[in-house]
């Protein structure tokens, strides 16, 4: 039997040492009436058969569509060396580094990851990672509720609708007041409406930059208003964009979160991904999840440990800052390896490529009659177009031509049925952009 080392002889010997005759005696604590009424599963397969079969399944999925689909999840370049590193089983077959002396690899990598997240966001401290960008945003919101002891949450509708649905889901059983504010006509957060809502019951203002429509903003003014009312400001970000855009720290944000998938993780049909969180120093002890800190051993040698653990569920149980036990250590490793391979100058180049190609795509598509830019504000690498008819139909037609042209915003926003969100990464070539333009023009 594969993956079980004991032979029948081993089993007989071990049972003998226990004074037992059969394996079944080991399960005598399970009463007869609690035995399975059914356990109907297929017989095991050989590795060769499993390989053939899963390859067949993989081949049923599209691998050759040209990708202009984003919405928070992007088709970025991943350097080959990354997979070499994360394939080292000393990393991926380890568990949470409870024993620091034999887990320095994981611990130091997480410390380096935390450092890189702080440098990207210009924040004081980061945790060891969370499940994904959406759960990170939820955790940030709960942090703000705890810190301010207030129950009202203001969310700009420029925040990913997927994440907003998650926030609603998690708070369904809690007495929180949710106020969602539609974006202004220019696609950015509606300052006036937000200002009206900010009050002494408001725990936090949640924003996203660039927002779901791709609009770039400087949110400093809103951060100041919110903080004046004693609320925290939470910003969901796109880490690649932080290679060029004003940072959460520069805009006085209290808690920055985001999805780290673009930092070297495959799209992988929705996961595993990587939630990151970074905060101002006064909120460190309110953070959820694991945190790695530097310390020394008795000889003064540098080493790393899990620290500030009294926040966590295994110690504080029902009073913990969160129920989180695992982080996404291997994904955090991917992120720090990606940022090392790409490097300081490389990240700048990635952002320049994304930004320039998005501009070029926009220019090309606006040349098509009937295609309009929806919001007249600066973009990074994603933008919203208004088409002459239903965007979902058009996207379907373009898929048949081998192009994932974008995301139909009507799926989540009323009165945006004709709008399409288009993302352009450094991987798209001028030629592919031309193909998109020609294909779109052809179907319109």
């Amino acid at each position: 039997m594969p993956y079980v080392s004991n032979t029948d002889e081993d089993r007989a010997r071990m049972l003998g040492e226990l004074g037992l005759k059969s394996i079944e005696e080991l399960f005598s604590d399970i009463p007869a009436d609690l035995r399975p009424s059914s356990f109907n599963l297929p017989p095991g397969l050989s590795e060769l058969e499993v390989r053939r079969f899963t390859q067949t399944l993989a081949d049923k999925n599209a691998t050759d569509l040209i990708c202009f689909l984003g919405g928070g999840f992007y088709d970025h370049f991943i350097p080959a060396a990354l997979d070499t590193i994360i394939s080292r089983s000393e990393f991926y077959t380890a568990y949470t580094p409870y024993q620091p002396e034999i887990s320095q690899g994981t611990l130091q990598a997480i410390y380096e990851y935390q450092s890189a997240v702080c440098h990207l966001t210009d924040m004081d401290a980061a945790n060891a990672s969370l499940y994904d960008g959406g759960t990170a945003l939820y955790e940030a919101m709960m942090m703000a509720v705890r810190i301010t002891k207030r129950r009202k949450v203001i969310v700009d509708e420029g925040v990913s609708p997927i994440y907003r649905k998650m926030l609603h889901c998690y708070t369904g059983n809690l007495a929180l007041e949710f106020v969602e504010i539609p974006v202004a006509r220019n696609g950015r957060a509606d300052r006036q409406a937000i200002e009206t809502q900010l009050d002494k019951n408001t725990s936090c203002l949640i924003l996203q930059n660039p927002n779901f429509f791709g609009c770039v903003d400087d949110i400093t003014d809103m951060a100041e208003s919110a903080q004046k009312s004693g609320s925290l400001v939470i910003l969901s970000t796109y880490p690649i964009s932080l290679g060029i855009l004003k940072t959460p720290g520069e805009m006085q944000v209290d808690i920055a979160t985001g999805e780290g998938q673009s930092l070297g993780l495959g799209l992988s049909f929705g996961g595993p991904y990587l939630g990151f969180m970074a905060v101002r120093s006064q909120y460190i002890r309110q953070m959820p999840g694991r945190i790695v800190g530097e310390t020394t051993d008795k000889n003064g040698q540098r080493g790393f440990v899990l620290t500030l653990q009294t926040r966590e569920q295994h110690i504080r149980r029902e009073k913990a800052t969160s129920n989180i036990c695992s982080n996404e250590a291997l994904c955090a490793l991917s992120a720090i390896v990606y940022l090392s391979l790409i490097g300081k100058e490389g990240l700048k180049e990635v952002t320049e490529l994304c930004s320039a190609k998005a501009d070029y795509t926009l220019k090309r598509l606006l040349e098509i009659p009937g295609v309009k830019m929806r919001f007249p504000v600066p973009i990074f690498n994603e933008f919203t177009l208004e088409l002459p008819r239903d965007a979902g139909d058009i996207i379907g037609q373009l898929i048949e031509k081998g192009i994932m042209a974008g995301f139909p915003l009507g799926r989540y926003y009323k009165n945006m049925e004709k709008c399409m969100l288009i993302a352009v990464t450094e991987k798209r070539t001028k030629e592919e952009i031309g193909m998109l333009a020609e294909a779109l023009e052809a179907v319109l």
Binding site: R285, Q309, T310, I315, R316
Partner: protein, 132 residues
């Protein structure tokens, strides 16, 4: 053994009252400090916070344990010993005098009288009834 001018709770906080003003000074005793060994963090309330008798006003933490600090009286926090957070080792040597944590303006001074005196508290410890 334990300072006789103070009162004690079952969760090992000590309380000293200035009867004239009704201001109660609160800290934690030697027994709790010993249980914790290496103290790494102290979480204290803010001036103006309203406290209820028996409910937590803060927490004291070692690397792998955390104990709530429970208020011996109902009242409002009037002073907080912020300096203590930077000198946690002091708790090991003298948890009473300069290691006070908060001063509370008590609503009802009788609540203090209901606490254990030094002798009762010593018996309580001897019987091993420590809740921590």
């Amino acid at each position: 053994m334990y300072p006789t001018d103070l009162k004690y709770t079952v969760t090992h906080e000590w309380a000293g009252i200035e009867e004239k003003t009704g201001i109660v000074t609160v800290g934690i005793g030697e027994y709790a400090v010993k249980q914790l060994s290496d103290i790494v963090f102290l979480e204290l309330p803010a001036v103006g916070d309203k406290l209820k008798k028996g409910e937590p006003f803060g927490a004291i933490e070692s690397v792998k344990a955390v104990f709530d600090l429970n208020s011996p009286v109902t009242g409002e926090v009037v002073e907080v010993n912020q300096a203590l957070s930077d000198n946690l080792d002091l708790l090991q040597t003298d948890p009473y005098g300069q290691c006070w944590m908060v001063r509370i303006k008590a609503e009802n001074q009788e609540e203090i009288q209901a606490l254990m005196n030094a002798g009762d508290y010593e018996d309580f410890i001897k019987k091993g009834q420590g809740k921590h």
